[in-house]
């Protein structure tokens, strides 16, 4: 028995449980796809598949390289001795503001435009201004915290007060 299991592992590359989990997962996904085709038809199901697979591909091959390169450029820009952590005071507001933009892009970018306005009777244009204000507040707060930190570590890092590498 143990020998048979070894042969299976060698041929398949994982435990039998692994194969069971994978097949169960793919079978359920296939069943959902079948039900979807029954209610939406082939062409719309293809559109759903394109959106679903496209979302993963767009994230991994477009969005991921973009934010990796931006982060590398940013890190290089502020890379000076003793200032490694300065990058995080830029990263955090960029992360929060960028995430809020992505989540609310239909409203902030005005893409919902006429539909939103006819449903709510309210203008969609306020959202871009609100997002700018939030972004400004985030960067302002982060800048203030960084200045505070520089002040603290500056006084700590004074020659007569020990080493500057103590700062966190």
């Amino acid at each position: 028995m143990a020998q048979k299991l070894d042969i299976f592992r060698r041929r398949y590359g994982g435990s039998p449980l692994h194969l069971v989990a994978m097949v169960a997962s793919l079978a359920l996904a296939g069943f959902a796809g079948l039900k979807l085709t029954q209610s939406l038809g082939t062409s719309k199901t293809t559109a759903v598949a394109v959106w679903l697979i496209g979302a993963a591909v767009a994230h991994d091959l477009i969005l991921f390289p973009i934010y990796t390169l931006l982060d590398k450029a940013g890190t290089k820009l502020v890379a000076r001795p003793r200032r490694t952590s300065a990058i995080n005071f830029i990263r955090l507001p960029v992360l929060l503001s960028g995430m809020l933009f992505l989540v609310y892009v239909p409203l902030v970018g005005g893409f919902s435009g006429t539909t939103y306005e006819s449903i709510t009777g309210l203008p969609v244009s306020v959202y871009f201004g609100r997002w700018l204000l939030i972004t400004g507040a985030l960067f302002g707060l982060s800048g203030a915290l960084y200045a505070l930190k520089l002040g603290v570590s500056g006084s700590r890092g004074h020659p007569s007060h020990g080493s500057s590498t103590e700062s966190s």
């Binding site: 041929r11 398949y12 590359g13 994982g14 692994h18 194969l19 989990a21 994978m22 097949v23 169960a24 997962s25 793919l26 359920l28 996904a29 069943f31 959902a32 796809g33 039900k35 979807l36 939406l40 719309k44 559109a47 759903v48 959106w51 679903l52 697979i53 979302a55 993963a56 591909v57 994230h59 991994d60 890190t75 490694t84 952590s85 990058i87 995080n88 990263r91 955090l92 992360l95 929060l96 995430m99 809020l100 989540v103 609310y104 239909p106 409203l107 893409f111 919902s112 539909t115 939103y116 449903i119 709510t120 009777g121 309210l122 959202y127 609100r130 997002w131 939030i134 590498t165 966190s168």
Partner: protein, 318 residues
């Protein structure tokens, strides 16, 4: 984990091929659900398919991939979490942050650059992201003064003043409700499967036994509001129609368009003493946008099942 995505050759065994396929469904499914959901609640209908159907079956694909992935990776996850103490990590600044020991773990990067953020910093950044979304959205659900802090949420807006100042899902004009349909000529038709019909005007309804309850409208698009509603119990209307124990209740609206112009309620929803055909809210007549002359309010039903501008209620028995 992302560097593993770009390994070459992309497939080296059957195991890996299957795993990568389910991972594609996992990542794609999660993004699909989030993206279509966010587009839908903000009314940007950029997708060429029915939201409800695609979102529903997309959820099954995501759940299938997620359960399989968690089942496979749980031992790995537990091992990783146990390898470090949270309390120690929360006390470790950037200067003392060191990369993971490579060991025999294939997920650990073999030759990492020096750390630019501490582990507690990364945890904090994720927490800050969640907090930012919570603060800009939760007012939609809490309502009251909190609605003003939901700065970016689609339903964080001020609808004006007075007893009818709470969010409107779709206004009367959007559903082509004309004032001539809801004026003094409006009648509520009560029908039964046996064929009996009764017709009531709004003043006649107001003379029936009225009840007042504080009940929520909870929209599946992520906003909710609790208001004080006054109206006739649905079960009293059933008795009036001569149908004491119906199997289902069909509520039909004057509205044009939309998937919820007619809604089927269950017998338990009908029998709940708090299920109302509401005529007033917060002591005032319903506004046209909130469903004047009459709307359904049923406890714990999705918002879209609280039909507005009701014209007919049919009680059926099989």
């Amino acid at each position: 984990m992302l560097p593993k995505l770009f390994l070459w050759p992309p497939v080296r065994s059957v195991t890996q091929a299957l795993e990568r396929l389910t991972l594609l469904l996992l990542v794609g499914g999660v993004l699909f659900e989030i993206v279509t959901g966010l587009l839908n609640i903000q009314y940007w209908y950029a997708f060429p398919f029915s939201f409800y159907t695609a979102h529903f079956y997309g959820a099954w694909v995501t759940i299938a991939a997620l359960v399989a992935h968690v089942a496979l990776k749980l031992p790995h996850m537990i091992k990783g979490l146990r390898s470090r103490s949270l309390r120690n990590e929360l006390r470790t600044p950037l200067e003392a942050t060191h990369p993971e020991d490579a060991g025999d773990d294939e997920l650990v990067v073999s030759d990492p650059k020096p750390a630019t953020i501490s582990r507690r910093g990364l945890l904090g950044a994720v927490g800050a992201g969640s907090a930012a979304l919570l603060v800009t959205t939760v007012g939609q659900t809490l309502g009251g003064p909190f609605r003003n802090i939901a700065l970016l949420a689609p339903r964080g807006r001020d609808q004006g003043d007075g007893p009818n100042d709470f969010p409107v899902n779709k206004p009367a004009a959007y559903r082509h409700i004309k004032p001539s349909q809801t004026g003094s000529s409006w009648r509520l038709t009560l029908a039964t499967a046996a064929g009996s019909m009764a017709s009531l005007s709004r003043p006649q309804l107001l003379e029936l036994g009225l009840h007042t309850y504080e009940l929520p409208i909870a929209c599946v698009e992520g906003w909710s509001t609790v208001q004080t509603w006054t109206g006739v119990r649905l079960r009293d209307l059933a008795a009036l129609a001569g149908e004491e124990g119906p199997d289902s209740v069909l509520v039909e609206s004057l509205q044009q368009g939309g998937a919820f112009g007619s809604v089927l309620l269950s017998p338990t929803q009908l029998l709940d003493p708090q299920s109302l055909l509401a005529l007033k809210v917060n002591g005032a007549d319903l506004s046209p946008d909130h469903g004047f002359p009459a709307r359904v309010i049923v406890p714990a039903a999705p918002g879209v099942h609280n039909t507005k501008w009701v014209r007919q209620i049919t009680f059926t028995k099989s």
